[in-house]
Amino acid sequence: MTPLMVVLSITAVKDAIDDLKRHQSDDRVNNLPVLLLVNGKMKEDKWMNVQVGDIIKLENNQPVVADILLLSSSEPYSLTYIETADLDGETNLKVKQAISVTSDMEDRLELLSAFNGEVRCEAPNNKLDRFSGILTYKGKNYFLDHDKLLLRGCIIRNTDWCYGLVIYTGPDTKLMQNSGKSTVKRTQIDHLMNVLVLWIFLGLGIICFVLAVGHGIWQNKKGYHFQIFLPWEKYVSSSAVSAILIFWSYFIILNTMVPISLYVSVEIIRLGNSLYINWDRKMFYAPRNTPAQARTTTLNEELGQVKYVFSDKTGTLTQNIMIFNKCSINGKLYGDTYDKDGQRVTVSEKEKVDFSYNKLADPKFSFYDKTLVEAVKKGDHWVHLFFRSLSLCHTVMSEEKVEGMLVYQAQSPDEGALVTAARNFGFVFRSRTSETVIVVEMGKTRVYQLLTILDFNNVRKRMSVIVRTPEDRIMLFCKGADTIICELLHPSCSSLCDVTMEHLDDCASEGLRTLMVAYRELDEAFFQDWSKRHTEACLSLENRESRLSSVYEEVEKDLMLLGVTAIEDKLQDGVPETIIILKKAKIRLWVLTGDKQETAVNIAYSCNLFEDEMDEVFVVEGRDDETIRKELRTARNKMKPESLLDSDPINIYLTTKPELPFEIPEEVANGNYGLIIDGYSLAYALEGNLELELLRTACMCKGVICCRMTPLQKAQVVELMKRYKKVVTLAVGDGANDVSMIKAAHIGVGISGQEGLQAMLNSDFTFSQFQYLQRLLLVHGRWSYNRMCKFLSYFFYKNFTFTLVHFWYAFFNGFSAQTVYETWFITCYNLVYTSLPVLGMSLFDQDVNETWSLLFPELYEPGQHNLYFNKKEFVKCLMHGIYSSFVLFFVPMGTLYNAERNDGKDISDYQSFSLVVQTSLIWVVTIQIALKTTYWTMISHVVIWGSLGFYFCMSFLLYSDGLCLAFPDVFQFLAPEKKE
């Protein structure tokens, strides 16, 4: 009973502390202040008191409390800028606009409090980019879509204030709907342990039954006649009754087979190994002063078994900082620096270009190639045009709170980097209105009239602006993906295009994100004509999108190539190295990102997820079931043609329509492949019956990229993997959009980056650099797994050995449930004599040290296949235990059978026998642990030999004269007649 109470109370206390912490952090969030409109006045209240129908005021840089309908804001046309990093991981600003009836109310509280519209909307759902509702206000209906909705988790930017009507709160918000179910995570070992304990119980029942039957027979044949010396108890009427009683007696005696203390020890080991993670200096990130942290202490050994890593991109693999790195202008490549001998110079030796001539330059910007600055200073026409186009063709907003201190708010970090580059080279984008763009060109302020913006979308993959220059020329500036722009170039620049493409390939192979820049001068008449058509298209209600893009195409042609920009999305330190190591450890990495496909692919190459020598990278971007199925099957046909045949074992297996849960075995492709799939296709693949196709194809690839993912899709991918593959998954991310995936995966790792704490709070392990993942998995995970496995196999072994001796003894004592050992020994065996050595081993053992673990990532593989502890290993332990107990019983028995001492006294008495058996047992299990221990620290020595010594002290005490429990000279017979 006592061990059970100890187990339960320790577990209870641990869970209580965990719950308390969770409550505290919940409380913190619940009690954040928010401005609520009550009775015509703004009143500060707590988040938790916000209800549907309330009108709340949000200010700049505040997070949005609930899903709210935007009513009005400080900006013109009631525009409101939000950042959705926590939702989809994109850090650019997005614009929301209120409908005009409500935006007229502005911040007049009396109007707002009198607002009595009625909103009918769809039930809460998890679709981030969809909302439909109808506002009925003053008898009129207004259609509401997701452009009017501010979602919880967004942050208000560039907007002084805005008012909103609360539509969904708490768990109904789209963020929470996306966060997935929170389940208690258990490790595979945990499950296995429970199954094994059940087995043991079953085995215990069988053994007890066998012994009870044995007792019944014995009682019938011998016990009945032995009654002259040992009468039956009064209540025992027949041998059957006696057998039933004996069944329970044996159940009690053999209960040590079911190791209750196992659970306590496992908790202690996991706690210890978690602390090691918290204490690891090599996972401490000094710039942010954050050590790694194990937030749950129950998943350690699973860290050593990870097979699939699902990673977010932005902020996890990359720093999310874009840097203008190179450019090619009019056929000349700038950005590389060479010394006198023509050798390329490494970054550390480079000297930064001096931008002091430009007062508006961004001091954080650095560039190393002086020739470009010289070209700018010389007034090279092409270079000037290039930077002019960069400073004009964008959608960046500028803020100038202090004179000369420009801050750019970019929809995408790439744009920000380009505009910043232009700014430093002397083409400073100063400010914009809806009609003009003001640029300071080499110190001179020039006002461009902004005629049209031909905005970016995924199909066009380019954006353009048409401006009227101060010289009254109409210019079109365009930037976009090289593949697209090349098609649109004027034939006259084909030779320049060839040179530029060479440069572009160079840059792309360095993992830089490239954009092509081009321009076109339009004549007035053409433009007027086009402008008319453009306006028509803008006003059309049907097919607006396609009509617009065809109008765009009319003007975006015959472009003159200017050059190429190359931007570096800086990877976090050590990411490529980490990914190489993870790959060597046979860990598959999937990048799940909400970001654009091009960006994701770029990063995949630069962080070594995809390699140039890959056989092929498949792209799945179908828009319906059939196309996607075809794409997936084509890919599979290439990787492993036989997997499409009907004779393939997996296909045969699948045609039998196995019941869930079933498992898809690992398939090996014939080469090194990659797969790219985007979110739209994924929606079909996940929701249709394509998921098995998807899984089988994707799992054969060395690297997989899923882009344009919603948070829930990320979780769905993880769930898919968990459902059909018996592997351990790990999700790593930093934003709130990763929360669902972090929760869904077996192990969730939060990168404590710049994107808030959501991911961290929901994760199991956190640290601040992706590169620490290799230490977490290959060092800590591997050790934890090995230790846990060693612990389990030894623990089961020692308990079987200990307990089964009783079984053998039963055959010699009339199955009377007599124990072999004396009571003290039984009490102390698990609690004192053998607990510390095994704990010591499972807290300190290292089969190889950390250097070797990282140097040979292949050492990680056994964990993925769970080779060190599984049912087979358990049976081995059982067999070993049976064998040991057999030897431990029969060798002393043979030795003491009819034996006399050298003074003639017989020594086959019960106490001598117990002492011999238990002493041998202690020796055997101690030697066993000594053999299992590979890393003998001082502590190992102390606990192992200490426990052994303690046993002898105890025995000496118990058997000495004073206690009068036995006769004195039994120690004389502790000869080494036992083996092993």
């Binding site: 011998k222 006649h225 032995f226 002259i228 010396f229 040992l230 009468p231 108890e233 007696s249 090691y276 204490w279 690891d280 200096r281 996972m283 401490f284 000094a286 002063n289 050590p291 010699f812 004592n813 009339g814 009377s816 449930a817 007599q818 300190f844 290292q846 040290n849 250097t851 140097l855 060798v891 028995m893 043979g894 030795t895 003491l896 059978y897 009819n898 034996a899 006399e900 050298n902 003074d903 003639g904 006294k905 017989d906 086959s908 008495d909 019960y910 001598s912 026998f913 590979t934 890393y935 003998w936 620290t937 001082m938 502590i939 009068c964 429990l965 036995a966 006769f967 007649e977 083996k979």
Partner: protein
Amino acid sequence: MAMNYNAKDEVDGGPPCAPGGTAKTRRPDNTAFKQQRLPAWQPILTAGTVLPIFFIIGLIFIPIGIGIFVTSNNIREIEIDYTGTEPSSPCNKCLSPDVTPCICTINFTLEKSFEGNVFMYYGLSNFYQNHRRYVKSRDDSQLNGDSSALLNPSKECEPYRRNEDKPIAPCGAIANSMFNDTLELFLIGNDSYPVPITLKRKVLLGGQIKCEIQKSPGGDNLEERFKGTTKPVNWLNPVYVLDSDPDNNGFINEDFIVWMRTAALPTFRKLYRLIERKSDLHPTLPAGRYSLNITYNYPVHYFDGRKRMILSTISWMGGKNPFLGIAYIAVGSISFLLGVVLLVINHKYRNSSNTADITI
């Protein structure tokens, strides 16, 4: 054994924290314990370390085993079964409970003389002295002389706790079933007049501190001390008249003490008497014919038990026990054989798997 003491140099995790930082650094302590860099001995088992161990074990165990085996075989031991279940046996008549007292005589011959001290044991088979309920059916505090326990024995003694409303002393099934045959040994000389052989008892436990001493409760007058108690049901005499020697009565009677120390296995022998060596010149028991006189009181045939009388000499390693020697020889041989097999395997595959000495 390839060993390396693993105390590595401090390797720091990253650049040191910016000096003058206002916030306290949360960098974990750099202790060997926390960084899992405790100096440690990492033994690596290689062929060079394991093979010698196998051979050494073999070389040590086999001679020991042979020594023990030879010694054991040199020990003289004779067992006489006198249960009497066979109709031909002289003791067959005693199976019937009517004949009391029943004395039977078994003759036997010693082919070789027994030298040195000869010990006489009685042996019982199929007697479950290790049955759980039997083992606990005793009251240790009563045996220790506690007077309250004397008159009020522990419940464990049931059903031998009270008899006719009087507490039983000594109580319990163990005491009740005490072996009470009397064995006498005679040498039948040439003149066919049997010469009784002196069987000593007092020396058996003499010279040793009797830890489990069950001191007689009380002092001089034993009968007075045991007043108010009654003898165990099966006993012929109360506990204070077990022996003619007044010092060997009560709970310190040697036969009683020997009996109370329960056997571990259902076949066991217990020391009965000692036949002391007389001189170096004459063997203690010369070869010849002997007769064993048994006062047959103890019934075992009801439960198919056997009774034996054993005479045995003793060596440095105790009584006759071939098992131990064989076990040593077996373990030694297996170890040696394994060593040879592994040596061959190692020799054959040495070159292809010489991975134990990778260095960086």
